[in-house]
């Protein structure tokens, strides 16, 4: 039973199409990455997923049933626009938000304290939110989304603005939750995080789905045509006929080849010309490269058809 199922949802604000015919499925126990450039419809899609806005057409199902507000108690949401009551004490705030998600006051209080320990902000518990650093506020919001032990966790840009230590702490927490069988959906522009953490991804651009599937599927659908070379000496091999694109950073080069098989020929050529090869690695494209390529393509196609407004 999929946790989230979107079927051809569409949302139009006045004249702007925010989401167009988006379909996707999230299975339990997956870490799902929702990717896309700024303004591509990620937040609009998430808002429809949790009933903050209603799609103009299409179907939203949560936990195998058509969308129903009662199932929101099983969802935890961290919005991109972070917000807490500034004048409220941290613990009161967490208890209040926990109660809104259907917890009793006592349970909410006990869990809030336990979570504050888990993410190492015990000292903040009795302070007002406005006295805390941005990173701490973000952790509190993170806790608020998880307090009611949701089965579906939706996080819009969860790691933005965190230092590497705290980002890793929260990443590990999410990985632990996934291990407990919870579905985690997060949106981000940080492809390295997605590559490291996600099982499945969906890439949307201009409101449309351009790429979806498990991380393995997505990557294996692209040829292993990238080469990372560390060399010294003659660099004429970079102009070999098989090389489509080459970026040379004085002794370290990133190559994109026309075919997977071309790598051996390029290496043979380099050796033949007496170049000293310290490292020669054939790779699949990184997610970042796929992302940029796909987003460019989605914009390019539309421009080609002449329907892009200025």
């Amino acid at each position: 039973m999929p946790i989230v199922e979107l079927e051809k949802i569409r949302k139009v604000y006045d004249t702007k199409v925010a989401v167009e015919g988006l379909s996707l499925t999230i299975e339990p126990g997956t870490m799902f990455g929702l990717l896309g450039p700024n303004g591509s419809g990620k937040t609009s899609s998430i808002r429809m997923m949790i009933g903050m806005t209603v799609p103009d057409s299409g179907r939203v199902s949560l936990f195998g049933k058509p969308f129903d507000r009662a199932s929101l108690h099983r969802v935890g949401y961290l919005p991109e626009e972070r917000g807490l009551y500034k004048k409220m004490k941290v613990l009161d705030q967490l208890v209040f938000l926990g109660q809104l998600h259907g917890l009793t006051e006592a349970t909410a209080r006990a869990r809030a304290v336990a979570w504050c320990e888990r993410v190492q902000i015990t000292e903040a518990i009795d302070k007002k939110t406005e006295e805390l650093s941005k990173g701490m506020q973000q952790k509190i919001q993170f806790i608020a989304a998880l307090l009611h032990e949701p089965e579906l966790i939706i996080m819009d840009e969860p790691f933005s603005g965190l230092d590497p230590v705290n980002a890793e702490l929260l990443q590990n927490t999410l990985i632990d939750l996934r291990k407990e069988g919870k579905a985690v959906l997060f949106s981000t522009h940080r492809m390295d995080q997605v590559e490291k953490m996600c099982d499945s991804i969906a890439l949307i651009s201009r409101g449309k789905l351009v790429l979806a599937g498990s991380m393995r599927e997505v990557k294996s659908s692209y040829p292993r045509n990238r080469v990372h070379v560390v060399f010294s000496g003659d660099e004429s091999f970079l102009t070999h006929a098989e090389v489509a694109e080459a970026k040379n950073y004085a002794g370290v080069a990133e190559l994109k080849l026309h075919h997977e098989a071309g790598a051996q020929q390029v290496l043979a050529e380099a050796v033949a010309r007496g170049t000293v090869i310290n490292r020669f690695e054939v790779k699949e494209p990184t997610l970042e490269e796929i992302f940029i390529e796909q987003v460019r393509a989605s914009f390019g196609d539309e421009e080609a058809r002449g329907i892009v407004d200025a």
Partner: protein, 405 residues
């Protein structure tokens, strides 16, 4: 329901705990009570205590004037009697040193039957109280003198000079005081005016607070905008009612303490209608404020729309005098039916002079219908407006929002 309760409870407890609430609770009645009763008390009880000099060539009427000014009804001044030849320059000097507040020069009448002339030179021409007291005292003295010169005895003169009192009888047959019942009506009016204005704005502000701090994104993930709106109006409203409740109870205790001596009484009818109209008026203005809050993104933008909330209240303020002087005129009857004015003006009419029962019933029904309509509109605006930020919506956009479900 549970969510509405949680929102209202948070709104209530967070507000009650603030210093602003405590200060407003204490300061508003002190300022208002001090303002109204203070001025009234000073105006009615205080006597002029200026120090003046009287320059006269003859003993009368200067001596009678001195007696009247020193022990009169409205004055207890200090009066020095000086011969007419006294140096004006010396007196001017004394005035400059603030030892003297002014001097009166009496020039005897040139012909029989004519009044003497009186020239008063005050230290400050703005000192109306002293010159009015002088005029009053001179009038009394001259009238008495003239009566006595026509052969009336001192007792007869005193009887003639006795002031007239008009007894005010209330409907229940008891003696009343039109001044105090006016003050009670006035205080109730001002109380409602201030609380509606203050707490109406608080509803708008608390909505903006959620918008600027973006908390609603988290809240809307579990509750509906309607629940949030209702909870907020109830929560902030309960704060207003608590505050008014504290004031009323304190006033009641004080009145019971001072009892008959204060002479101010709030009848049960007045109190009941005040609570009814206050609650209705409060709900109405909160609903309007909520709509304003939903349309705007910041306090500054709210200030610009503020006038929509203020205008009906100003109209009510302007109608205060016409209604007090003529509570049952056609004008009074019409404006007190306008739903935005009815809470204040109908209540004012009730405490001054009871209108027809159908008028009261009609005004309540009209207010209820308006509340429903405004809430319907504001919940629509709120539902859409809460998720729109960055840009201030224009009127066509707001009208379009009303069509969204």
């Amino acid at each position: 329901m549970h969510n509405i309760w949680l929102i209202a409870k948070r709104e209530y407890t967070e507000r009650i705990r603030t210093k602003a609430f405590l200060i407003a609770t204490i300061l508003i009645p002190v300022l208002m009570g001090g303002g109204i009763f203070g001025v009234a008390a000073i105006a009615s009880r205080s006597k002029t205590t200026s120090h003046i000099a009287v320059l006269a060539s003859t003993a009368q009427p200067a001596q009678d004037l001195k007696k009247e000014l020193e022990n009169g009804k409205d004055s207890s001044m200090t009066v020095d009697l000086l011969p007419a030849a006294a140096s004006h320059a010396a007196l001017d000097k004394e005035m400059e040193n603030k030892q003297l507040d002014g001097y009166l020069v009496i020039t005897a009448a040139t012909a029989v039957g004519r009044r003497p002339t009186f020239d008063f030179k005050p230290r400050s021409t703005a000192d109306m109280a002293t010159s009015e007291a002088l005029e009053g005292a001179l009038h009394t003295v001259l009238t008495r003198e003239s009566l006595q010169s026509r052969g009336l005895s001192a007792a007869e003169t005193a009887a003639l000079m006795e002031p007239v009192t008009v007894n005010i009888i209330e409907k229940n047959g008891e003696h009343g005081d039109s001044k105090t019942s006016f003050y009670v009506a006035y205080v109730l009016f001002l109380l409602m005016y201030m609380v509606v204005l203050l707490y109406g704005m608080n509803v708008a502000r608390s909505i903006i607070e959620e918008k600027t701090s973006r908390v609603f994104e988290v809240l809307l993930a579990t509750i509906t905008p309607d629940e949030l709106l209702t909870g907020k109006i109830l929560g902030v409203g309960a704060v207003g009612l608590t505050q008014v409740g504290i004031w009323m109870i304190t006033a009641g205790l004080l009145a019971a303490r001072m009892g008959a001596t204060s002479g101010v009484s709030l009848s049960v009818t007045q109190a009941v209608f005040f609570v009814v109209y206050f609650t209705l008026g409060y709900a109405l203005y909160s609903a309007v404020a909520a709509a304003l809050g939903a349309m705007t993104n910041s306090e500054q933008e709210l200030q610009q729309l503020n006038m929509f909330l203020m205008m009906p209240l100003f109209l009510c303020m302007g109608m205060l005098v016409p209604i007090v002087t003529n509570p049952n005129s056609m004008l009074s009857r019409i404006v007190s039916q306008i739903p935005f004015c009815a809470p204040l003006l109908m209540d004012l009419r009730i405490s001054i002079s009871m209108p027809q029962p159908w008028e009261i019933a009609l005004s309540i029904v009209l207010i209820l219908i308006t509340i429903y309509a405004v809430l319907w509109i504001s919940s629509r605006i709120y539902r859409v407006g809460i998720l729109m930020y960055g840009k201030k919506p224009n009127l066509p956009e707001i009208l379009r929002w009303l069509k969204y479900s």
